[in-house]
């Protein structure tokens, strides 16, 4: 068995390295897909499927068996108590038997920050989610310095504050379009009509992707980040490969189209591909398709789910804390601080994974080279050692900006300013228009141990009486 697997793996690696430059990228994705299928046929690779069962309370589980990789932990609202128990009793905790294999959980704020800053001992390669993605898409979020630094510098201009300043009025226009089309006489799904619409429109703009097809971006993002083997989501491998190949095809076409237009003398735009084509470091990125694919996937996935779920989470948090909604209406200048508090409270990405590069001691535990460790931002943001009353949502919380939802160190979120700006503008424009946004019933939560998000949330708007 083992032999067959390594032969297949070797074939895959050979395919991916040797032909990177010559074979169209969607063919490479298809080739990797065939390898996975072949493995499945010879019984080497059982696709993971998760079935939801009610989770026991944290105090009823022996400490060693506590498994925070369960993709239903967030949906069932058990995560507060599970992580509190880990923070108090086992801040660096080993789980030997998860469906994803053994892993460590790091759950206190200070430990997480220390680990995130130590790229030498804790590598982000080859992946930053708990399981393995069955395709080596090359993303710099999962690369160590110095390669990480080169790649990040090449593309960060697209979301650099300078570019954002130019984009602010455009963002506001798009937000207003979305808000002005909302019904006020009946309930509707906030996730679909607002969160997905605004982030989708923004992303289409950043990537200069055909505006009418923007829902594809949402679909790709959800499918890729929802892969069962990687995050406990509900995407089957086959669907993952099809979505990735489709994404690759679309963006290769977009690249070539832009190149042709540029050669005909059209002025380049401020979108990602134009920036890549205009920079010495990245103008030949198309010749390294898996890298090209990686950078795009990173922006599509990184910029989508996260901001979207913060847009939904903010409304939910204010509904659960009506006094804070009143505070906000009385003093809209608190919006920027509230945006940080929303991002802390929501923690859209629950963790990042690292791998120990050597045997070492950390938080009183002995970690072996090669061990996987998860830095649980979702827990660090609720660490009572760092935040007073951490589970409360307080829009004028003094140290809200110290949240760790964007991570720390060299990988600190590249899109943080864009995310903050989108949320700030959303709330500024919401307060202009509505007196109340009432959540109706319970929101539906995404199945994942990585993305803390919502698939549906019904709301009813009350227009401003003087408007």
């Amino acid at each position: 068995m083992h032999n067959k697997n390594s032969v297949l793996e070797r074939t895959k690696t050979r395919l991916q390295t040797k032909v990177q430059a010559t074979v169209p990228v969607e063919r490479q994705v298809q080739a990797a897909h065939m390898v996975e299928k072949a493995k499945r046929m010879v019984g080497l690779n059982e696709p993971l499927v998760f079935t939801e069962r009610p989770l026991p309370d944290a105090e009823d589980v022996p400490l060693t068996e506590l498994d925070v990789s369960n993709p239903f932990l967030f949906r069932q609202g058990k995560w507060h108590s599970y992580f509190k128990r880990l923070r108090d009793e086992a801040p660096v905790h080993y789980q030997a038997n998860s469906p994803f294999g053994p892993f460590w959980s790091v759950t206190r704020y200070e430990d997480i920050r220390a680990m995130d800053m130590n790229a030498a001992d804790f590598s982000a390669e080859p992946d930053i989610i708990i399981g393995d993605v069955p395709l080596d898409i090359e993303m710099f979020i999962a690369m160590d310095p110095p390669k990480h630094d080169q790649q990040r510098k090449a593309v960060q201009g697209v979301v650099a504050p300078k570019n954002l300043k130019e984009m602010e009025s455009l963002i506001r226009e798009r937000v207003c379009e979305v808000l002005d089309s909302l019904p006020t006489d009946r309930p509707f799904d906030w996730v679909d009509r607002v969160s997905i619409e605004i982030t989708g429109r923004m992303l289409a703009t950043l990537l200069d992707f055909p505006y009418e097809e923007r829902r594809k971006l949402t679909y790709w993002s959800d499918t890729i980040s929802g892969i069962a083997e990687a995050t406990g989501g509900s995407t089957h491998q086959d669907e993952f490969f099809e979505a990735t190949a489709d994404l690759a095809r679309s963006f290769m076409a977009l690249w070539h189209d832009k190149e042709a237009r540029r050669q005909q003398g059209e002025a380049p735009g401020f979108d990602l591909i134009s920036l890549m084509q205009g920079s010495e470091d990245t103008k030949d990125m198309i010749k390294k398709p898996l890298e090209f694919l990686g950078n795009l996937t990173l922006l599509i996935v990184g910029g989508n789910d996260t901001t979207r779920n913060s847009m939904t989470g903010g409304v939910l948090a204010l509904n659960e804390n009506p006094d804070q909604f009143e505070k906000l209406k009385a003093n809209p200048s608190v919006i920027p601080n509230m945006v940080s508090e929303i991002i802390r409270w929501q923690t859209p990405l629950a963790y990042m994974r690292r791998v120990a590069t050597r045997d070492l001691h950390f938080g009183g535990q002995f970690i072996r080279k090669g061990d996987r460790l998860l830095m649980w931002y979702a827990s660090g943001n609720r660490d009572e050692r760092q935040f007073d009353n951490p589970d409360d949502f307080i829009i004028d919380r003094a140290n809200a900006r110290n949240h760790m939802s964007f991570g720390f160190g060299v990988h600190r979120c590249m899109g943080n300013r864009l995310a903050e700006m989108q949320l700030r503008i959303l709330w500024e424009e919401l307060l202009e228009r509505f007196d109340d946004i009432k959540v109706i019933g319970e929101p539906e939560h995404v199945q994942s141990n990585f993305a803390k998000g919502y698939s549906k949330m019904m709301v009813q708007l009350t227009p401003k009486s003087d408007a």
């Binding site: 800053m117 630094d149 510098k153 504050p161 720390f408």
Partner: protein
Amino acid sequence: MATVTFVEHDGTAHEMDLVEGESLMQIATENAVPGIDGDCGGEAACGTCHVIVDDAWISKTGARTGQEIQMLDMTPECEANSRLACQVIACQEFDGLRVRLPEFQM
């Protein structure tokens, strides 16, 4: 009283009392100097307290080291005298120190 001056990107200067033992980031944020965020609370982990030290002062403050180099390297506005303000601890000798702020923090 010893002072330190923060000069915003648009030239606006903010002269602040220098508190010995505090970092420049703390002095700036406690006095609400615009343009310094200090998101990580002073651990050289976020890169949002970037300042550029005047040439005349760099020998006193010293140049960036270790983790600071990593973080600042990513900033497009990084200059020879760039430092993270949270890693510059004020002392009496810094009386009259001037630092410039970049246009944007990361």
